[in-house]
């Protein structure tokens, strides 16, 4: 028998009619069939045609990834599924809001780290900062883990938005 296929991570853009229940259909598909969702974001991107774009980061063997795309395409309000990981280079970004509290001594170090990561201060009190940071998932992870010992008390992340590089659509 052939060796078991390796698990790959894929980022997909799914164009859907912005109508009630469409997100539930997509999420229900993933939970019902046991597929992974590492990140999912959605917003209307074409208000004139009432189209929303869902960005999904998922993982699976090549056979499972093919199934996920076929199953997504089968959903009636889905216009198209683009596997960005397969279709060429693409940009992936995520936004995080990170709240850090800490002693007076650590505040300088907190600000220095934020500066290195180009994180912006969007709220300040004598006891706390809220940083806004945009970047790849890995970069956000790195920032948060370095900040952790300095007193991270809360994190809010948007999940991944992605788009292909170059002039092509999607």
């Amino acid at each position: 028998m052939a060796a078991p296929e390796a698990v790959e991570k894929h980022t997909m853009a799914v164009l859907v009619d912005n109508e009630p229940g469409v997100l539930a259909r997509v999420i229900g598909l993933f939970s019902g069939r046991g597929y992974n969702i590492e990140s999912l974001t959605v917003a209307e991107t074409d208000p004139n045609n009432r189209l929303s774009r869902i960005t999904i980061v998922t993982s699976g063997t090549p056979m499972i990834i093919e199934q996920i795309k076929a199953q997504l395409n089968r959903i009636v309000p889905v216009h198209g599924v683009h596997d960005l990981s397969e279709e060429g280079p693409f940009v992936e970004r995520e936004l995080a809001l990170v709240k850090v509290t800490g002693s007076a001594e650590s505040r300088a170090e907190t600000l220095r780290l934020a500066d290195i990561f180009h994180a912006r201060v969007v709220d300040t009190t004598p006891e706390s900062y809220v940083f806004e940071m945009t970047g790849s998932t890995e970069k956000l992870d790195a920032f948060i883990s370095l900040m952790a010992p300095l007193g991270v008390v809360d994190i809010s992340r948007t999940g991944v938005a992605a788009i292909s590089r170059g002039a092509g659509k999607f």
Partner: protein, 592 residues
């Protein structure tokens, strides 16, 4: 005097009727309740649609399935909110698994009460999302007509399936503009591919031209595509001279009496079908989906074959089994293109090339894997089916089944020559399917002989529909192979669980003859082999609903059988075969 406006305003309920009529619906299977009273009121005032009052909403959906599968049309269901909708869920799931086109209208509480836990409120679109091809909640009467037409379009095109339209009561009372089906734009996001890619057809023709051990594996997609697809399939098989096997859902897609036909494939398929599946060098799957009942152990499935897979649903391809050549398209379109391609290539069947393969198949055939031990004291269930077939084969006969051993014996022994004549619950395996389905078949074919081949346990799951068949004088026949056991459960317990028959014996069965009479039907009983022909003839002769209680051998098992987790060439052929293959593997035990 005012001029007649081109489009008259209709109430939502009137629009429902109008849309059904415009969709060429003639029968609706339903059950009333508070939320759908406006539709029942509109039904009362018209005479274009016939409403069949079932006795349970599950029965309504199975009846619509029987109607659809035997006619090629969309089956229509009308139920109320809350319990009406939840009772329909099993039927909807059944229709989804077996790709049956159904439009199910469900009542809903008025829009302003949605989300308030109102009386008989259920989140119907939420509950039915995973068990429908698509569903809708209509919140504005001006969307209603368009939504209904789209529902029919989605149900019947592509890979068919059930569609739910949830209708809040205030929308049924509101008035709005009706739009006709042809004025409804097709949805951009839903465009199933029906025409195959030419390059793939050419590639298929090349594989066909060189195969030494080919096999056609046909499934329910052929039936769904329609009689033309089945005729083309038969034509292609004859053109090539290749052997043909069919899945449970595909029976009737190829004439069972033909010498190229090897019989049913899969868990209870014939020795020749399963061995041909295992040993073939080219498998041509047309409209089947590599279901686990067919493949058995995936790792050992047809290990030396190239596989062509024709399916209208791209998600069926490479789901369970990796194939070498995928062709997305409607079976009839693909077959038309493939036959044309073979003819253009001046394809000539090479009998000599496949002669050794046929010789091998004949040796498998000689095992007569469907043979059973005859008896003249006790009725063997297989004997009852054989006699039923022999005594009805000259008629226009439609068979439905329940689920269990009787279903498998019917699939093995009843021979279907044409599509649309065999209705069974394959994917979901729903006990209680057969009687309501038979009711639906009889409504689509009023003069035909419609028989539900049943088990005594399954029939009790929707026995209330006897009341419906009696009300509408539908001469449906229920032919019960009464073995007093949930035979299929008993068989697995015997083979896999050391003969511990936990809860598979029904201790207090009703007297089916008197039960039939209580409903107003005719009850008959056969207790010994000599009775069988007599009761069958009598059953056919009476022009009324009949229940036949055929008391069969309670211990009989259904063979051949591929034990779960085993490969096609590891079949059990009969009771004496049991030890030779050893106990079922641990891996196999966990499988259903």
């Amino acid at each position: 005097m005012a001029v007649q406006p081109a489009v008259r305003e209709l109430s939502g309920a009137e629009m429902v009727i109008r849309a059904l009529v415009d969709q060429n619906v003639d029968v609706v299977f339903g059950y009333p309740g508070g939320a759908v009273l406006p539709i029942y009121d509109a039904l009362f005032k018209q005479n274009q649609l016939r409403h069949i009052l079932v006795r349970h909403e599950q029965g309504a959906v199975h009846a619509a399935e029987g109607y659809a599968r035997s006619s090629g049309k969309v089956g229509v269901v009308l139920v109320t909110s809350g319990p009406g909708a939840t009772n329909a869920v099993t039927g909807l799931t059944d229709a989804l698994m077996d790709s049956v086109p159904i439009v199910c209208l469900t009542g809903q509480v008025p829009t302003h009460l949605i989300g308030n836990d109102a009386f008989q409120e259920a989140d119907t679109t939420g509950i039915t999302r995973p068990c429908t091809k698509h569903n809708y909640l209509v919140k504005d009467v001006n969307d209603l007509a368009r939504t209904l037409h789209e529902a029919f379009h989605v149900a019947r095109t592509g890979r068919p399936g059930p569609v739910v339209v949830d209708l809040p009561k205030d929308v049924l009372f509101a008035t709005g503009l009706y739009v006709a089906p042809d004025a409804t734009p097709l949805r951009k996001s839903y465009r199933p591919q029906t025409k195959p890619e030419a390059t793939r057809i050419a590639a298929a023709a090349q594989l066909i031209a060189v195969a030494k051990k080919p096999l056609f594996y046909g499934g329910g997609g052929l039936i769904n595509s329609g009689p033309r697809a089945c005729t083309l399939f038969t034509e292609l098989a004859r053109l090539t001279g290749f052997p043909v096997t069919l899945t449970l859902m595909g029976l009737g897609a190829y004439p069972a009496s033909d010498k190229q036909y090897l019989g049913l494939v899969g868990m209870h398929g014939t020795f020749e079908s399963n061995n041909a599946m295992h040993d073939c060098d080219l498998m041509i799957n047309i409209g089947a989906r590599f279901d686990d009942r067919v493949t058995g152990k995936i790792a050992a499935f047809a290990p030396h074959s190239r596989k062509i897979h024709v399916d209208i649903d791209p998600s069926s391809i490479n789901k369970n089994v990796r194939v070498d050549l995928a062709i997305v398209g409607d079976c009839a379109e693909v077959l038309t293109a493939l036959i044309a391609e073979l003819k253009a290539q001046k394809y000539k069947p090479d009998a000599a090339r496949i002669a050794p393969w046929w010789r091998q198949i004949e040796t498998w055939r000689k095992r007569e894997s469907l043979r059973y031990e005859k008896s003249d004291t006790i009725i063997k269930p297989q004997y009852a089916i054989e006699r039923l077939y022999a005594l009805t084969r000259d008629r226009d006969v439609f068979i439905t089944t329940e689920v269990g051993q009787h279903q498998m014996w019917a699939a093995q022994l009843f021979k279907f020559e044409q599509p649309f004549h065999w209705m069974t619950s394959g994917g979901l395996g729903t006990m209680g399917y057969g009687l309501p389905a038979a009711m639906g078949v009889q409504l689509a074919h009023s003069d035909a002989l419609v028989i539900d081949i049943a088990g005594e346990a399954s029939i009790l799951m929707n026995i209330q529909e006897m009341s419906t068949v009696c009300q509408y004088r539908l001469p449906v026949k229920v032919f019960i192979l009464n073995n007093q056991y949930m035979g299929m459960v008993r068989q697995w317990q015997e083979l896999l669980h050391g003969g511990r028959y936990s809860e598979s014996y029904t201790a207090a069965l009703p007297d089916f003859v008197r039960l039939a009479e209580a409903f107003g039907a005719v009850g008959l009983r056969a207790e010994k082999p000599a009775d069988v022909d007599r009761v069958i003839k009598e059953m056919i002769a009476v022009d009324r609903p009949v229940i036949v209680d055929v008391q069969v051998d309670p211990k009989e098992n259904c063979f051949p059988m591929i034990p779960s987790g085993a490969a096609h060439n590891e079949m059990l052929l009969g009771p004496s075969d049991r030890q030779s293959s050893g106990p079922v593997s641990e891996e196999g035990m966990v499988l259903v």
